[in-house]
């Protein structure tokens, strides 16, 4: 893969063969979770071996996309030019139903955030190559 990076655009990840399928799925608006074929443990971030049973038979399963807010940060002073005009903005850590946790953005007012707030995943298209996680509150 090769990309032209828009100057000072949204920060993007650098992928490798272990992580590329997860990101490629996001682009298709699909959330996958790396899953151990032997013990069925859900694993994130993706890695070469299951840390639970040491199996290297790993596959990708669809995530339910549902979880709840576990913690969050509100950024009031941004360093990166892309985020300077977005302050104040929240970044959430969501605990998914499968037990993994994901960092993402959230589509709600900052003062709505609370521990356990139920959310589901949506996808924020960045460019032709990347989509990011954007959670929304489940009413």
């Amino acid at each position: 893969m090769s990309y032209e990076i828009p100057e000072l655009g949204r920060p993007l990840p650098k992928l490798n063969a272990d992580t590329e399928p997860w990101w490629a799925a996001l682009k298709r608006h699909q959330l996958l979770v790396q899953t151990c074929s032997d013990c069925e443990m859900a694993i994130h971030p993706p890695r070469p071996m299951c840390p639970n049973c040491r199996s290297m038979e790993l596959s990708w399963s669809p995530s339910s996309g549902k979880g709840s807010v576990y913690s969050w940060v509100i950024i009031n002073r941004a360093f990166h030019p892309y985020f300077m005009e977005k302050i104040p903005f929240a970044v959430v850590l969501v605990e998914m139903e499968d037990g993994t946790r994901l960092v993402g953005s959230i589509d709600c007012e900052n003062d709505q955030l609370e521990d356990g707030l139920p959310v589901e995943v949506t996808f924020d298209d960045v460019d032709d190559d990347f989509s990011m996680l954007l959670f929304r509150v489940v009413r």
């Binding site: 990076i5 990840p13 971030p45 940060v73 960045v126």
Partner: protein, 385 residues
């Protein structure tokens, strides 16, 4: 647990430059100044040095040290990884180099123009973020304070901690720095009102929850206990020095396995520390707790066993960490107020407490603890008189 390192080695010399916002000198020069001072106070010369240890984040290459100082007897050298987790690991490795007989005199050092040069709290702006950084940067979590704030929030959720409680950490550090003429913030007072009125940068952290950015260097000389006793300085015996990796562990963003309010790396280091030292937290007279960000201090106090999990907010606000408290901490001002030499300056203060030369000297110190960074593979050491 039988520990073959216990009291076999000692820190026989310490050296430091001034701490400043702009040293006006190269990091190489700072390193040499600190090493020179550490050797001189022990009555040693560069010819006596046969081992070198530094950190993976170190700016001064070991070859620049030997080339400048004319060291021709280096027999072993190591670089300890994981940034702020490395300082006490450097002590541990230096102690192993000496106790194993590979070396007689090891210099460990850290130099940085971290304020006037490359600032760790400012973002590099790469096109791409690799590793776990790539999972966070696209959403705006880019610098360490922002990563740690996620852990801090979780402390408030789980334990009901308040900013009034958190304030006791920076207030304690600052008051200690106000007594320490070498501290970068020696002349700057901090009040609870200042803390509570400060802008919240990465909510829930305000600027006073952050460590400083500092130019400076520190160095240590580690020899056998026997040799240290023959030297000019007062030995600070290395009673125990350990590392702990933890699981699962990334850098300041341990979001993906287990608790956000326990440092598995701290727990791993603490388990070894108490087993190998034969001590318990009650034996510790004074502690230098790595204070890059306030909530990490609270988590560390619990993980090392100074209070129960979830009780650190009460522990720090009940007067336990001040100079007359149950566990005086960061008696030179810590990384928040003395200076931030990536945790290495905490070791020097731990030595001063053994020597009886701290500007906030605790009475009758027998065991002096120093910890390295919570939130990365870490390390800790107990020095004794």
């Amino acid at each position: 647990m039988n520990d073959q390192l216990k009291r076999k080695t000692a820190i026989a010399g310490i050296g430091t430059t001034e701490y400043s916002f702009n040293s006006g000198r190269s990091e190489q020069r700072l390193a040499i100044e600190a090493i020179n001072q550490a050797l001189q106070e022990a009555g040693l010369t560069p010819d006596d040095v046969d081992g070198l240890v530094n950190s993976d984040y170190e700016a001064t290459n070991q070859v620049d040290v030997v080339n400048a100082m004319g060291m021709q007897n280096i027999a072993s050298f190591a670089t300890i990884p994981h940034g702020g987790g490395s300082p006490c690991g450097a002590i541990a490795h230096a102690a192993m180099m000496v106790a194993s007989g590979q070396c007689k005199c090891v210099v460990a050092y850290r130099s940085m123009n971290e304020r006037s040069g490359h600032r760790y709290g400012s973002p590099e702006i790469p096109a791409r973020y690799d590793w776990v950084y790539g999972l966070h940067a696209p959403y705006g979590l880019i610098v360490p304070a922002e990563w740690v704030a996620m852990h801090g929030r979780r402390r408030m959720i789980e334990f009901g901690e308040t900013r009034e409680q958190w304030a006791q950490v920076p207030l304690t550090c600052r008051a200690n720095a106000n007594n320490n003429p070498a501290a970068l913030l020696h002349e700057k007072k901090l009040t609870l009102e200042d803390y509570l009125n400060a802008p919240i940068l990465a909510d829930p952290l305000c600027r006073y929850d952050y460590c400083l950015e500092t130019d400076g260097a520190v160095a240590l000389v580690i020899t056998s206990a026997e040799k240290a006793e023959s030297l000019a300085s007062t030995p600070a015996y290395i009673h125990a020095a350990v590392q702990g990796m933890g699981h699962q562990i990334w850098y300041q963003s341990n979001y993906y396995g287990g608790s956000l309010t326990t440092g598995s790396e701290n727990v791993a280091a603490a388990k070894q520390l108490w087993a190998k030292s034969g001590l318990t937290p009650r034996n510790i007279d004074v502690a230098q707790i790595y204070d890059h960000f306030t909530p990490a201090v609270l988590t560390s106090l619990e993980d090392y066993g100074f209070c129960e999990k979830g009780d650190a907010g009460g522990f720090v606000s009940d007067g336990n960490i001040g100079p007359d408290g149950e566990l005086p901490i960061n008696t030179a001002g810590g990384l928040q107020a003395e200076g931030y030499i990536h945790g290495w300056n905490l070791i020097l203060e731990a030595v001063r407490q053994i020597r009886g030369t701290s500007s906030n000297q605790v009475r009758d110190v027998e065991f002096s603890l120093v910890t390295s960074c919570c939130g990365a593979p870490t390390s800790a050491a107990i020095l004794s008189r």
